[in-house]
């Protein structure tokens, strides 16, 4: 890097991040979250994978797929889950053009909790994660990508058309949604057991100190986790800012 490099344009302070894709209200966020974590009806069977492969947490494409999946499951805009997320460069017009996985940028935030979540999920349930990312890839440029994925994951476990892999993926999706909202991991099997035993209290584990600070549940409630706040000193004397500032 000793030689002179090409000049590059400097940027305005607000130019790095896109505006959120659409207006989000607390109701829509919670509705989508409830849909993702409650589930119940039938969806179309997934294609069989063309080839067996594991998810690579260092793959930009796989991270893009994971962010898209997470946004669908949580109802939170992808550039909020992954600040700096861009479907492609340059900034897309409206309506959004097709996502090109080879060009999409999965975010540029220094916290990068999404990497912890992708790694965590891949280590615990590699085949289930692969299933889910394949689902995203299949619906990548569907007219309503998020709803298509939710529909595919909403079915009754007794549906004879569903395979064990379908059912496992459904509960893994719930675990991922809960991880984003609570910063904690609930084993899919524990969530599945709730179906037959509603008195059961599922065990959970906080994914990491970083995950605790980044959990979305309290942010949706215009609050912050206990013991961790980056709000202005004295914020407690004022009503919280508008919801759009949080999500």
């Amino acid at each position: 890097m000793s030689g002179a490099l090409p000049q590059r344009p400097s940027i305005a302070p607000n130019a790095l991040e896109d505006e959120p894709a659409g207006a989000v209200t607390r109701r829509t966020v919670l509705t989508v979250a409830a849909a993702a974590t409650a589930a119940a009806t039938v969806g179309a069977a997934l294609d069989t994978p063309a080839r067996a492969h594991s998810v690579d947490v260092n793959s930009q494409e796989h991270m893009v797929l994971f962010v898209l999946l997470s946004s669908a499951l949580t109802g939170i805009p992808r550039d909020k889950l992954a600040p700096g997320f861009k479907p492609e460069t340059p900034k897309p017009p409206t309506p959004e053009p097709p996502i090109d996985l080879s060009k999409a940028i999965p975010g540029s935030d220094p916290v990068n909790v999404k990497r912890e979540y992708l790694t965590w999920t891949n280590e615990k349930h590699p085949s289930g994660l692969e299933y889910l990312l394949r689902l995203v890839r299949k619906n990548l440029n569907a007219p309503n990508r998020d709803q298509a994925m939710i529909d595919a994951l909403q079915f009754d476990d007794d549906d004879k058309s569903k395979t064990p892999s379908d059912i496992d993926a459904k509960y893994l999706a719930r675990s991922i949604a809960l991880m984003w909202y609570l910063g904690a991991w609930y084993e899919p099997a524990e969530l599945k057991a709730l179906r037959t035993d509603l008195t059961r209290v599922p065990t959970s584990r906080v994914v990491s100190p970083k995950a605790y600070t980044q959990a979305w549940a309290l942010r949706v409630a215009q609050a912050h986790p206990m013991g961790f706040s980056e709000m202005q000193f004295g914020y407690w004397t004022r009503p919280p800012n508008e919801l759009r500032d949080f999500i």
């Binding site: 002179a4 302070p13 790095l16 540029s108 935030d109 605790y212 202005q232 000193f233 004397t237």
Partner: protein
Amino acid sequence: MRTEGSLAVGVIGILAMVGLLGWTASAQAPPVTLVCDHDPPADTTQIDAALLIKGLPCAEKVSPDGPFGDALANLQHGFDFYSWLTFLALNAPADGSPIDKAKPNTPTKWEQPSNFKQLLDVMLLDGRSSKWEDKKIIPPECLAQYNKLNGKVMVIEMIEESFNEPFKTGPLIDQQGNYAIFDILMNKSMFDYIQDHNLQSRAGQQSKENASLKVDFPAGANRAPGDPGAVMIKVSWKVLDSPAERQNFHTVDALVLTPRHPNETTKPPCLRKTLGLVGFHVGHKTEGRRQWIWTSFEHVKNVPEQQEVDNKQEQGPYNFYKVGCDPTQCPVNQTPPTPWEPTYKNGLKFHDSKFRSQITRVVALTDETKEMNRQFQAILGNSVWKNYVLLSTQWPSDFRCAGKKDESRPPPPAPATDFKKEPDMNCAPAPTFLANSTLETYSQGTDPLASSSCMACHGNAVSQQVRPPDMKPEDFFNQSDFTFMLEKAQGERRR
């Protein structure tokens, strides 16, 4: 990076640039201008000697696009490049000679009272106002020596913040048994804002006129004529008793007044010492980065990285680490035994004559930062400045958040920073954590809210403002714009 932390530098008043020379008030050298460069070079510029004279950037110039990796990596590179330019500009010889030819004791621009003022020269004992041109008030215990030296000496009046690390986590003791000494300074832009709003006085801060003030220091911008806005510096010094080691540091001839003890019947000693620069923080507020940009440098021989220790790759000797000392005898990153305050009897020597701090760097420098350090060190000739390394630069990575203005009515005065951003008023600092081994020694690491983060810490700084009984709590806004300096205002407390 707590306490006044960390950063800074300077220069210039409202219109621009300027700064005279000479550390001492009575310096005879002609004034030299410390120029604020409103068109700083892009970070893709070749790193060669031409950069040594570019001057202080009025603000950052960065881009997410470039050859250094992803967007985050490109931006980090841009801010690190800005930090090196800042370091070179502030430490350039005050007489205008080239920095690569500087001698160890060549006075720097930031050491000139025309460019930067020490905190205690602003927060005067009785809270009275002062002018930028006012001469330094020399403590009576040091006055005779000061006059004998014709004022050509730095004077450091120690307070707790001069020896105790942020959050009162303890002092740092070097391998010769001396305290590391800390000092805090501000530029004229900060000074003027403080004086204009009567914030140098505790009573002034607590006045009814200031109850509704949202402290909002000027911000630098890359436009003519070149106003850097608010810049603050925090430095750390090592006492250099040995003439031999003075060749490896930037040094100053100093009179150090040890902290006053109210229960002592005698006066604190004022000790003439040669001090070597071991840590250098700069905080710079710019229009696009209203959470300030936080730059941290230190001497290359301060401490080894922990991973170097683990791999037995230390390259000592170090200023704050003894190679080969058994961990049971020299536990790493531990605070010294109490009491921590310097005593009149021992001067700047720690009371436990056998104790030495055994410090390692917990978070290693990135390969990219090491490479940039190598390139800048290569253009610094044989000057002592090649012995300093950039640790990193912390900057607010959410640019939309960082540039947000207060839109309340009537519009607040410029720069009208919005301090009510939620949920993260720090706008996603990058990197999340940053610690200098001499200035945040005991808060290194990566634990949320516990490990050192310049913005996360300074974002909690407040003033001594008071809410009047007839003001609604939600209308009262007590913050001090990322500086702890205002806490040091003195004078009569409101009753």
